[in-house]
Symmetry: C2
Subunit: 82 residues, 2 copies
């Protein structure tokens, strides 16, 4: 079983990517946690340490997949005041 | 059932993304075709028309997800002589 975290910030690109990718993942193969930085800004450091540069991003077993481009982590920090 | 095409060009970023994402897709929900532009340069126009700007990219039911960045389509065209 893989573990994945989908990090996003509520932007339209994020929401669209979330809908598309989460719909086709296999829940038997991967546990997916969705983290919205607007609600959980305390998770920003862990994402940056994993290598997340922008949102939306899907981190699967520690490997970062940046999916399209919604906003840089710098802009996410500004937006949520972190 | 969704239909998806994973477009790539054999680059290391492409191969890595392919392994990560295809492993966790649900084959009961999505049919995935893998297209390597080095082998199938005739598929470049359809990808560009779908909105693919770089590889690797996963197009799910016509919606493009650019996953990380391996190469621009311009560079893919140069590399494969298309």
């Amino acid at each position: 079983m893989s573990n994945a975290v989908f990090y996003h910030a509520g932007c339209s690109v994020c929401v669209s990517a979330e809908e598309q990718i989460l719909n086709v993942l296999d829940n038997q193969k991967v546990n997916v946690e969705v983290v919205h930085f607007g609600d959980q800004k305390g998770r920003i450091p862990e994402a940056e340490q994993a290598g997340v540069k922008s949102v939306p991003a899907l981190v699967i077993d520690g490997q970062v997949l940046h999916i399209n481009f919604g906003a840089s982590m710098e802009d996410v920090r500004k937006a949520v005041g972190a």
